[in-house]
Amino acid sequence: MRLHLLSCLILALALGAAPATQKSDSFRDEHKDLDARTQRPDKQVSDLTKSVAAKLPHIGSETRDLPRRNLIDEHLFDAMEKANIPHASLSSDEEFCRRIYLDLTGRIPTTEQLLAFVQSQATDKRDRLIDELLDSQAWVDHWGYWYGDLFRNCANRIGNPATRNFDQWFRGCLKEDRPYDQIVAEMLTASAPNSIWMPDSAPSAFLARWHVPGDTMYSDRYEDTADEVIVQSSRLFLGINYQCISCHGGKGFLERVNLDLVSKKRSELWAMAAFFGRMRIRIVPFQDRFTITEDGTGYDAAAPSSVRMPRKGADLQPTFILSGEVGNPNKPLRPQFAQLLTRHPQFARATVNLIWKQFFGLGIVDPVDSFDMARQDPAHPPPSPWTVQPTNPALLNALGRDFAENRFSLKHLMRQMARSSAYQLSSHFDGEWKESYTPYFSRHYVRMLTAEQLHDAICQATLVFGNYKHKDMVYKTDLPPFRFWTEAPTPEEIGDGEAKSILRTFGQANREQFDRQSGGSILQAMTLMNSPFVNKRIRAENNSRVEQLVKSDKTSTAIVDELYLATLSRRPRAQEKELAITWLDADRKQGAEDLQWSLLNKLDFIFNY
């Protein structure tokens, strides 16, 4: 990954050049125009939620008086009270049920699951459902796939066996609820002495993923690879983007971007990379395999680079940038790095912030990989006019501590979030919503379903599943087909053209170079209205739900109810029901097909609200 230099050279050039001011005012005005068009994360979620929630039939419950259920509620509701900011009511049971199924398992509830929950009289039924889902295989599938995206686990150059085995290993970790600090440490210290895959080298695919080639695609650049491992693991595990200082010092470049990084030098990045200076990731030419060993001589700060500005050399000791702690060169270096990284409070803070964004739609620090370490502590605020970066620093610290004290359990962390009243607020907001409320999380923010969630939801609502075939990687025997996309180890492993087309249209990540793309498009609307994938599922054929209903002796009313429950996870409003019944009464098959089509094209289906 090459450095994005952006404003880098400009200062250097500018200091040598006369600051000309000849550009016209109209040029400047045009720029203001452009500047106004760019989108900030908090504004985006505010606008999106405002727009979508206004288009949903009234959701939310009548419950406004909410218990403070854990430390999340203490911090968030305290902040709201202090600032005198109103909050939304509690989500309705239907709203909560769909949301928690999507967030924990990536799937919408079945009609049976939904009705069982809604009709239950138990006072602790929300907690029970959360626990049940956290212990389900669907939770493992959803989060295993999500982490596969995050770590970009894909076969390119490292091979299918390594990719699959990393995936199986990671899902195993989730299933056993292994401490996240240990999982990360295993990834950072993994070896693969033999290029033929060995069971205990499964975590090594994470490191191999960041291998940087030299002049040809099958050569190795060890220092570049070490830089890359540091840049990526800092981004993923500390939430800090050291990409900029991997090419140049921060001074003169990052004054407007990151206060802490202004004072950081490129040699400090190298010193951290020196923990990986003896690591050798070697790609086996033409075979999509690799080895990882620890037989190198150390980080050469004058080594040539194939992806960054030339190195100038420096005297280095392996040093952890956040604490200044120096590694012992007589001991294995990578375990020391893993220890320093996972013991630093920022590891827990960045991790909870990352997961927070998945549950609350907006990070406490957002973007989640933009932490500025000079702007974290309200007791030592940054010089004016900078402000403290987290929208609720006490919450972030407390949640990070809670995560660490509970053996870095991801399940515990997600349980804390899901159980909080704050998470269970409705996305509907009574009264006037102001954008300034956004950092307080005083309503739930909506998100579009991800590509995989949408694919799975369409299949589950219509009961026409893909049944994706796949084989055992060693014995090449057929395995039970997958129904849900998140069962697959990578985006490329399974599927047919129709499925792949809809997944790409809705922004699926390829894990090779690009992340999931969010946001809507005209093509998405076209796909939902008129694509082979959707068309074959809404018709009364292929034993679809519509076919089963049309052929059954159910009344129009019952059919409408079931299609709503199965597709939108809610009962129809009276008006909706009345209208749909007239379609079915006029022509049972056509009416049912049209209703199924309409429901898949409604915002309540496309969004997680």
């Binding site: 760019t38 989108q39 900030r40 080639p213 093509l523 076209m526 049209d594």
Partner: protein, 466 residues
């Protein structure tokens, strides 16, 4: 510039904008100096503004320059290549039967070079002219999105088709770069073109059904489908996508645009790229709102059996590209412009056809009979939209691995950033522009003053312009 002038254009301060201003204040007196347009303003950037629209043909995977536009003959060269001299050019006439017929309308460049030998990152350059930075990848827009954002004011009320259309880019190794932090209306409509065009208009017999369903959906949602007041104009309401989709599906021009006659199909080579270019021609002829087309021709990663005549190897793909490209140039040139009397559609359409990198020159590999990735020299084609006709720029050595004459003022290889400058200049866009308030806080440069490994001043290849 003073703090007053900054706050002036930030009507309501929120957390992020405060940060932005804070950052600006920190650098105080240097503020003006941070802006590249101030640095280069003395040069008086003058875009050429010679084109109205862009067709970018992305030869994906790395086309072997020495077996195509910069042909070099050796003991390894198959006889059927029939390498012949065409003016300054040497071409494999046995597999490029049609290109010689349009050489007088295009410019061939043989002094291109790439920064990166890995497909994903190199393709990222091709689409964005920026080095890939994962931390910023979400916000960096594609060249096509920047162009369309610049052209937004020219959009007509009956322009139903989106300004930016991408074809066969879904499987691209860098993904299809979208609008980044720009408004979603400038993002690409991604189409898969195979044996034929996608059915954007409803299939025969489906129109009535879809219309009924559309009406029923409106009834079901009733007032809920109305626009919300008080939202930022950069925000696109999801229903706008539905409105856009419905407008396309019902535009009477669309069935004609998305129809490929058997004769066209044959002339363009009966391939995915052929069909894509027919569609590109139709789109520009119809003038229904599309101004930037990115058409991908995939499968060029010939590490093995490069000369073997199997389904997707070099000779096969060259024949596809040759037929498609030559027919396209011919057709655009034969279509009168609907905007400038006396000009042709080719005159107002900038056609760029390049690969992310080249392939190793000289003998093919003994083990796999192929060629590996090569970043030091490759070739491409430019036509229309103000480009020279019948010119050749750049020259390589005997094997085709070293550029001996870059053929332009900068006396260095031409990189993707320079090509982006050409596109921006031809479209009348100042390529030195920047956008300051990005989500990350880092300035977005239309074209950065540095690649991944070198500081460099990129600029349009003026020698390409007629």
């Amino acid at each position: 510039m003073t703090d007053k002038s900054i706050t002036h254009h930030v009507p309501h301060l929120n957390r992020r904008e405060l940060l932005r201003i804070g950052g600006l204040s920190l650098v105080g007196g240097f503020l003006g100096a941070f802006r590249p347009y101030n640095v280069w303003a003395a040069e008086r950037i003058k875009p050429m503004a010679t084109a109205r629209q862009v067709l970018f043909i992305n030869i994906e995977g790395g086309m072997s320059q020495v077996d195509s536009l910069d042909a070099k003959e050796g003991s390894w060269t198959p006889n059927y290549f029939e390498i012949k001299q065409f003016g300054e050019l040497k071409l494999p006439s046995g597999i490029m039967k049609n290109l010689p017929g349009v050489l007088d309308k295009i410019t061939v460049v043989r002094s291109l070079a790439a920064w990166d030998a890995v497909h994903g990152r190199a393709q990222y350059y091709v689409q964005s002219a920026h080095p890939l930075n994962l931390a910023l990848a979400k916000e960096v827009p594609a060249i096509g999105a920047v162009v369309c954002q610049e052209l937004a004011k020219e959009r007509k009320p009956d322009d139903s088709l989106p300004p930016y259309i991408a074809m066969n880019m879904a499987g691209n190794q860098a993904g299809l770069i979208n609008q980044g932090f720009l408004s979603a209306e400038f993002g690409p409509l991604s189409l898969a073109i195979g044996d034929g065009p996608p059915a954007l208009a409803p299939q025969k017999g489906m129109a009535q059904t879809l219309t009924r369903r559309w009406e029923r959906l409106q009834q079901l949602d009733s007032t809920l489908r109305q626009r919300q007041p008080g939202l930022d104009r950069s925000f696109v309401d999801y229903h706008e996508y539905y409105r856009g989709a419905w407008a396309i599906m019902n535009d009477p021009r669309v069935p004609k645009i998305f129809n490929i006659s058997d004769e066209d199909k044959k002339r363009y080579g009966s391939s995915a790229i052929g069909n894509s270019l027919v569609l590109a021609r139709n789109l520009f002829q119809a003038d229904a709102g599309t101004r930037f087309i990115l058409a991908s021709h995939g499968g060029w990663d010939h590490h093995g059996d490069i000369y073997k005549e199997n389904s997707r190897n070099h000779p096969v793909l060259i024949r596809e590209l040759d037929a498609a490209f030559a027919s396209l140039i011919h057709d655009l040139d034969a279509t009168p412009s609907s905007h400038s009397p006396g000009k042709t559609l080719l005159d107002e359409t900038l056609v760029v056809c390049v690969s992310e990198f080249g392939r190793t020159p000289g003998p093919i590999s003994e083990t796999r009979q192929g060629r590996e990735h090569f970043i030091h020299a490759h070739s491409g084609m430019f036509a229309g939209g103000g480009m020279k006709k019948g010119a050749v720029i750049g020259k390589t050595d005997g094997l085709g691995g070293t550029i001996v004459e870059p053929g332009w003022a900068q006396k260095r290889p031409i990189y993707m950033e320079d090509i982006a400058c050409v596109i921006y200049s031809a479209m009348g866009i100042d390529w030195t522009k920047t956008i300051e308030s990005t989500p990350s806080g880092r300035t977005f440069h239309y074209v950065e003053p540095a690649s991944g490994t070198k500081y460099m001043k990129f600029e349009p290849v003026q020698e390409l312009f007629a």
